[in-house]
């Protein structure tokens, strides 16, 4: 029987996975961009971003632009590594090697 590695619980959640998938391909994104692309509410997105930040997967920078607060997010090296691991685990899960 093939044993599966447990999928990373931080990433195995719709919204957190969506945020990480967006950030993996870009250098930096504004909070509003992430909200538009994921279709999530600001409150829910804010909670999930905090979880990702606390896990060390992303960095959050707060700035001001034209006197308005601006929240910028970018993926960390650790986050990139965990995302790659998650995708590899997912591949194993979806197409497990048949025992020889």
């Amino acid at each position: 029987m093939t044993r599966f590695k447990e999928l990373d619980p931080i990433l195995h959640s719709q919204l957190r996975l969506a945020v990480m998938s967006l950030l993996i391909g870009i250098e930096m994104a504004e909070f509003t961009y992430l909200r538009e692309q994921t279709g999530a509410t600001a409150g829910n997105l804010s909670i999930q971003i905090t979880k990702l930040k606390e896990a060390g997967y992303i960095e959050v920078t707060k700035k001001f632009r034209n006197n308005y607060p601006q929240t910028l997010c970018n993926i960390t090296k650790f986050g990139r590594l965990k995302f790659t691991e998650y995708v590899n685990d997912l591949k194993d899960y979806l197409s497990p090697e048949k025992p020889g």
Partner: protein, 195 residues
Amino acid sequence: MENEEKVMTGEESLKIISEMINKTKFDIRQGSFYLLFWGWLIFACSLSEFLLLKFTDVIHHYYVWLLVIPGVFVSMLYGFITGRKAKVRTYTGMLYMWIWLGFFISATVLFIVHSKSMYTVAPYILLMAGLPTFISGFLIRFKPLIAGGICFWVITLVIYFVGPVSYSLGTSVAMLFGYLIPGYMLKNRVDHDAV
């Protein structure tokens, strides 16, 4: 995407990953603006110079190239405004910007080095312009722009062997095939995708 704790299947996870990654593609609209702006500006300058040389006795025909100076400011202003408005910074977008900035710096250095023999600059500028055009075509996966880059190199060879008499007309043709045609095709693709 509200119920974030809902248990996902592997297929659902993959679907989210691929959907989100597709959303972060580089916005190619900026690319079409620069191609069309510089395409028309250089096309107008080179064609005007050609017509002045061919049909008039104007000595300072190269003065038409002074239009490039406000062009640089317009480009910088556009880049500054769009950069400030941008909610996202893609790796492709950054690479695209640095490649063209590198070309701009190289061209400026070339103009300074050749300031006493400006009429000889055209083949070198076209040769250099071919590289960012060619690479940009690959970056945004747009074949007409790759072909545009190749056109610059072919026209460089042609005007080099024909001689200085062909420089201004050659530059106009290069702008047509290198920037304007790919620029309009890119714009049409963006408009079509936006419908």
